[in-house]
Each structure stands twice: as structure tokens, then as C-alpha cells.
Amino acid sequence: MTPLTFFPLAALIVAAALGVILNRHPIRSGLCLAATLFLLAIMFVFLDAHLVAALQIIVYAGAILVLFLFVIMLLNLEAELPQRRRQNLTIAATVAGGLFAAAGIYALFTSGGQLPGPGTAAAPPLEFGSSAALGYRLFTHFVLPFEITAVLLLVAVLGAVVLAKKKMS
């Protein structure tokens, strides 16, 4: 990925992410989140993570986001009113977050040493990022976590049903 495509894409991602947290209305935040997720999927394609990019769109933008929008519309939320008494916390959180980001980026760019590995310029093997390569790794080295994930999803489904159903009394 050349800088010419990276920087506009990164700027769009950051703008969409800011839209998520700055919009007063939950629906608009949700749509901004959708934009962020789609743009990140494009970023994944450029990083040769093709299956992950597809999953990002199917699972995140498809399933998780629809669930969000569904709940927002179900609860019929109105826009949040600006609250004056919380302004101190807002400023403090923004400053702390800005400092954290600045420290992290400073550490990244001044640590001097190169990151280990062949790097992003090296040509990946043909299989890299394909569903075959990911599936092979998943069903050999990561097979136990994979099975545990199945149990986790089952428990999550049960928990969601129990929590959201009406009280029988």
C-alpha cells in the first residue's frame, strides 16, 4: 500500500471513528461505526488479510452492526442532550487520551529499532491470508481455542435469551 492510498484512507477511518463518539444521535453514531468498519476492511485487504476483511464485513458490518441498529430503533432513543456539568470530565478524558496517543506514537517512531520480521514490503506467499491458510492454522494449532469458542457462543446465546426475555411471574 503506497502512502498515497494509506493516508487518505487513514484520515477517513479516523474521521468516521470521531463521528461515532461525537454524534449526539445514536443512529448516526451507528452509521459512522458502519463506515469505520467498512474502511477498516479495506485496510485489511491492503494488509493481505483477505479472509479477515471478508469476515469483517460479514460479521461486524453485517451481524453486529445490524444488532446495534435494531436495538437503537427498538428502544426508540432520542438524541442525547449536552450536559454542562460533565464538561470537566470531557476535557480531562480528551487530554489524557491525547497524551496517551502522543506517547504511543512517539514511542513507535523514536524507538529506533526495526520491528522484527520480513516487513510489509516483502512479498507474501501466495496462500497468505486465504481461507485455506487461516483454516489450516485454525484447525491444527488453534483447535482447542476454536472448540472453546463454540462453547462461548452457545453460552452467549443462552445468556442473551435469558436476559432479554420478559419476566414470567
Binding site: I64, G119, G129, A160, L163
Partner: protein, 100 residues
């Protein structure tokens, strides 16, 4: 080619946006979306490192993160629905039963 540090910088910025959003917003659903932003920032870092090392493991971890995020959203939104049914509000400041 853009070096991996740039992707990691973007990941840090995304994570911080999510963390700040979680702190400054009081709407539970938007706080939830901020958590999703943070998870996605972590995913970006994982994919970047997978590309940097040319190892598939980072992408497998992203697969797991997505699964956990899906489960978390299902349960979290169920809690939000149950809460709204009880209290008619989604403002985190008004839900303070367990706070000292």
C-alpha cells in the same frame, strides 16, 4: 510501501478515540460502540503484525476476537434491553445501583 509503524500508529489513534468515547459519552449504546472501536483497533494491530511477520497466527487471533465481540454484543445488548425495560433510561449516570 507504508511501514508497519504507520498502521500501528493508526491503531493507537483508533484505540484512543474508542477509550475517550467510552469516557465522555453517557449513552450506554454509544459506550458500547466505543468498545467495538477499541476491539477493531486491536484487530488492526494484529493484522499488521501478521503481515509484518508473514505469519497467519495474527489473523487467527482476529478471528477469535471477532467471535468474542459477537458474543459480547449479543449479551451486552440483551442487558441494555433488560435495563431499559426496568428503568426507561440508557443514561449511565442514572444507573447507579451498584455504585458507591
Amino acid at each position: 510501501m507504508v511501514p508497519a509503524t504507520y498502521y500501528l500508529a493508526l491503531s493507537i489513534v483508533l484505540f484512543v478515540i474508542g477509550a475517550v468515547g467510552f469516557l465522555i459519552r453517557r449513552n450506554l449504546i454509544i459506550m458500547f460502540m466505543s468498545i467495538e472501536l477499541m476491539l477493531n483497533a486491536a484487530n488492526l494491530a494484529f493484522v499488521t503484525f501478521a503481515r509484518q511477520q508473514l505469519a497467519m497466527d495474527g489473523q487467527v487471533i482476529v478471528f477469535f476476537v471477532m467471535t468474542v465481540a459477537a458474543g459480547e454484543v449479543a449479551v451486552g445488548l440483551a442487558i441494555i434491553i433488560a435495563l431499559f425495560r426496568h428503568r426507561e433510561t440508557l443514561n449511565a449516570d442514572e444507573v447507579r445501583m451498584l455504585r458507591w
